[in-house]
Symmetry: C2
Subunit: 144 residues, 2 copies
DNA sequence: ATTGACCTGTGAGCGACTCACAGGTTTTAA
DNA sequence: TTAAAACCTGTGAGTCGCTCACAGGTCAAT
């Protein structure tokens, strides 16, 4: 298959396919008659993997090295594992952080919701901003 | 306080402070004698808010508009709320996605862990790649 | 034969920094 | 007091991972 088809089936931008090819992540054959690139179903799998890996926050160089390790078929590759483990740690941390912030946002939004007309005033926003780092205060009125 | 001090207390790169200042997110006074920028504690709060908001995925223009709405003190601003709600949805989605992928990674790593010497071979990686989209198969041997 | 949809390479633009440079200022400390 | 170190200034360029724009070549359908 050629660029367009590959891109369509993997639901990515054709330019991304071209970009990955330029970067050496995909290595299609060339049709010598018209110089078009010919991708295999192997390339499709690599592309899909690459996209998922990107979502996980792997860098293109990392993905490239994982992929090329997988290419020469049965090399033991502790490096891939290191990359993986390292990335997993980062993902866990990010997940935690995101979770906290999500809760913070929800609280803030609830505080807004319960206002007379549902629109916040400057004060609310100020409080939100001032106590952003302090979940105990954000979204709650002080006792007074 | 000046650039360096502000940056240190907020634990960001001084260049980020300069960048935010260039972008109009922070508006320090100028010391006319030496042309240095003078930041207030208000700026510190804005900076901290901006960093948290960035982690949540708000864009700089969004942050800028939230901050300037908060500046002219008591404007009701449904826009800020819209941005906030919209972003919350995205965060929820991202959280879900990240969660799934984290589990996927853990499974994969466990499968590796249980291998004889703890290092994966080409086959394992291939399976991981081939069935990346298919949690039922990744990290498990087929029945045979 | 012409249209339109594809393909090619290259180069530039994006957001949000980050770094490098060249020069001016302030602080420290010998 | 003066030299060095540590700051500050603006500007411009580099980074990553795309994405788009351009100019031109190829191919299938009408």
């Amino acid at each position: 298959m050629r660029v367009g088809e590959l891109a369509r089936t993997a639901r990515v931008n054709p330019d991304t396919v071209r970009f990955y090819t330029r970067e050496g992540l995909l290595r299609p054959d060339r049709n010598p008659s018209n110089n078009y690139q010919e991708y295999s179903s192997d390339d499709l799998q690599k592309l899909r993997f690459a996209r998922k890996a990107r979502q996980l926050g792997f860098s293109l160089p990392e993905i490239k090295s994982i992929l090329s390790h997988a290419d020469d078929h049965h090399s033991p590759c502790p490096m891939v594992r290191e990359v993986f483990e390292h990335r997993l740690n980062e993902v866990e941390a990010q997940l935690q952080e995101l979770h906290n912030l999500r809760d913070r946002m929800k609280n803030a939004l609830e505080a807004w919701q319960s206002m007379p007309d549902g629109t916040p005033d400057g004060h609310t926003i100020c409080r939100l901003i001032e106590h952003w780092d302090d979940p105990a205060k954000a979204g709650k009125e002080e006792s007074r």
